[in-house]
């Protein structure tokens, strides 16, 4: 297996893990913030929101998934371009639509289908480019 082929496969696997963790994390955060309610922009309001998020189990579950996402993201960008990893992560939105149709039997309108087609085509286009376009030492010499 060539170096580039290995690089593509391991990046793909890491991006898939990122997608799972990010989606689960976002869902938990949204649920947690709905439980807390709208944040008031004032000293006591922000303090109250901070305390509420600290004491909310759903928010912590969201944070756990987002830590998983961050670790996968850190690993992926250690060998691949940021501009390669970042758009590939959007594949999660397309996956959500497929899950909504197959599991929740939701009706999907034309606008959403066009969005999914654009995301998948965009990710495929980015995926065809070389995952790493920077020389490790040249790009990061302080």
């Amino acid at each position: 297996m060539s170096h580039e082929h290995r690089l593509r496969i391991k990046t793909l696997l890491m991006v898939l893990l990122m997608v799972v963790c990010a989606n689960a994390g976002d869902l938990m955060l949204k649920r947690g913030m709905l439980q807390i309610g709208a944040v008031q922009i004032s000293g006591p309001g922000i303090w109250h929101a901070l305390l509420s998020t600290i004491h909310n189990g759903t928010i912590w579950l969201g944070i756990f998934f987002l830590i998983g996402f961050t670790l996968c993201y850190m690993t992926a960008v250690s060998w691949a371009d940021y501009s390669y990893v970042m758009p590939a992560g959007a594949f999660g939105y397309a996956l959500q639509t497929v899950l909504a149709i197959t599991i929740l039997h939701e009706a999907v309108n034309a606008q959403r289908w066009i969005g999914v087609i654009l995301i998948v085509t965009g990710v495929l286009l980015v995926g065809q480019t070389h995952p790493n376009t920077t020389e490790p030492s040249a790009a990061v010499t302080p």
């Binding site: 913030m33 690993t75 959403r112």
Partner: protein
């Protein structure tokens, strides 16, 4: 509306700035030697000793809290499409700060993803 717009700009700056700083740091750290627990722990340890990773952390923290505030202020159908603009801002950052070579094909892909994410989420797909 101005308050939501200002918070969105703050979120995009923190999020993109944090991710670019994190990428810069992780390029210095290098990839993990393997995926066994000890190799992963050594990798995390090396990352924790990198200054750019620590520079990125508060920015990503600020982006996280600004996103939480945005979720509580505005519906997802407003917040997520606007934050999808991150893809374009991030690609500019990758080109000019990280010196990545962005081909026409990659640009086209990024723009398609940005528009696609906006369309999906405007239909309430999150």
């Amino acid at each position: 509306m101005i308050k939501v717009g200002a918070m969105l700009v703050f979120f995009i700056c923190c999020s993109t700035g944090g991710e670019i700083a994190m990428t810069y740091g992780m390029k210095q750290v290098g990839e993990p030697e393997g995926f066994r627990p000890m190799a992963l722990l050594r990798f995390i340890g090396k990352a924790m000793r990198n200054g750019w990773v620590w520079f990125a952390a508060p920015l990503l923290g600020a982006s996280f809290y600004s996103l939480l505030i945005l979720f509580s202020w505005a519906p997802l159908s407003v917040v997520i499409p606007a934050s999808a603009f991150n893809y374009v801002v991030g690609t500019f950052g990758a080109k000019y700060l990280l010196k990545e070579k962005i081909s026409v094909k990659r640009w086209l892909g990024v723009v398609m993803v940005c528009v696609g994410v906006t369309l999906v989420l405007l239909t309430g797909g999150s």
